[in-house]
């Protein structure tokens, strides 16, 4: 299991990267009114077959122990369901994949959200050729970060140039803590 949900963010986005997505949209939303945290991932990667969609999130099914089984989606699903949340996966071969998970905000077993800004920053830094659209909804507040806009602004420089990635990191940190207006976990 992951220590914090921001680790799930990092991990589930890796699936999209492995699926050769060029654009990954990640939406984090926190709603005190609905008592929910949700994470949504949408990519334009290679997608999965319907059979794959059916089985891929089933935790640790017994049949394949010798061969490596994926843990990322089962972890996410288990954490979601354990906290009274939901898990949805839809995918279409050649089109892309959407994964959405929600968690009970005040559920005792819910892992802390953790450092979302650092998860976003890490994804950008380690995958400078991929575009990310991050949307963070915190009650009625909204923050959006689109690497396509950054890319346009700095062209021909790369997102992982030290000065640029420093700016990205600071921007994410500032905007997200503004959104929280204090600390949130």
């Amino acid at each position: 299991m992951m220590r914090e949900l921001s680790d799930n963010i990092l991990d589930i986005a890796q699936n999209s990267i492995a699926a050769r997505a060029t654009l990954i949209k990640i939406t984090v939303s926190v709603s005190h009114a609905a008592n929910r945290i949700s994470l949504c991932f949408e990519d334009n990667g290679c997608g999965m077959s319907p059979e794959m969609v059916q089985t891929v999130a089933e935790p640790f099914t017994t049949s394949r122990k010798t061969r490596k089984v994926g843990l990322g989606l089962p972890f996410l699903k288990q954490t979601a369901l354990m906290t009274g949340g939901t898990f949805d996966l839809s995918s279409s071969l050649g089109v892309g994949t959407t994964v959405c998970a929600s968690f009970g905000l005040d559920h005792i077993d819910r892992p802390p959200l953790g450092d979302v800004a650092s998860a976003f920053y890490t994804l950008i830094l380690l995958n400078p050729a991929v575009d990310f659209l991050f949307v963070y909804l915190y009650d009625e507040k909204r923050f959006e970060f689109d690497t396509r806009i950054v890319r346009q602004t700095i062209e021909p420089l790369r997102l992982d140039e030290p000065e640029i990635s420093d700016w990205i990191r600071e921007n994410l940190n500032q905007e997200i803590s503004l959104l929280h207006g204090g600390s949130f976990s």
């Binding site: 991990d11 890796q14 843990l71 972890f75 650092s118 890490t122 380690l126 950054v150 921007n171």
Partner: protein, 122 residues
Amino acid sequence: MKSLEELAAIRKRMLEQVNMRKDDKIDTRVVVGMCTCGIAAGARPVMLEFISELKRRGLENVTVAQTGCIGMCRLEPIVDVYVKGQEKVTYVHMTPEKVARIVNDHIVNGRPVEEYTIGYQG
């Protein structure tokens, strides 16, 4: 996203610099395993500590990259260091605390930190 002007100013400044980072300057690669069990074991703080330590010491000849599953779950977080012209060194059970020494002893001074390596701990 705010202050795109600031970003544009950074761009302008960087394009004016003559000594912009060139890929052929890179002679060392730090590769962090970022599969599910790597992340669960704490790969992210290790990766971030490498980034900060390299920045702190101004080592522009080093890049940090990720790789997927290496299939050695119980040794995660795993970091491979490739110094040009030398054999790959694999560090296991990495923590942010181990990073400064690897940067200093191995990356700067060319002496791998034996006791953190897979041969020692595996």
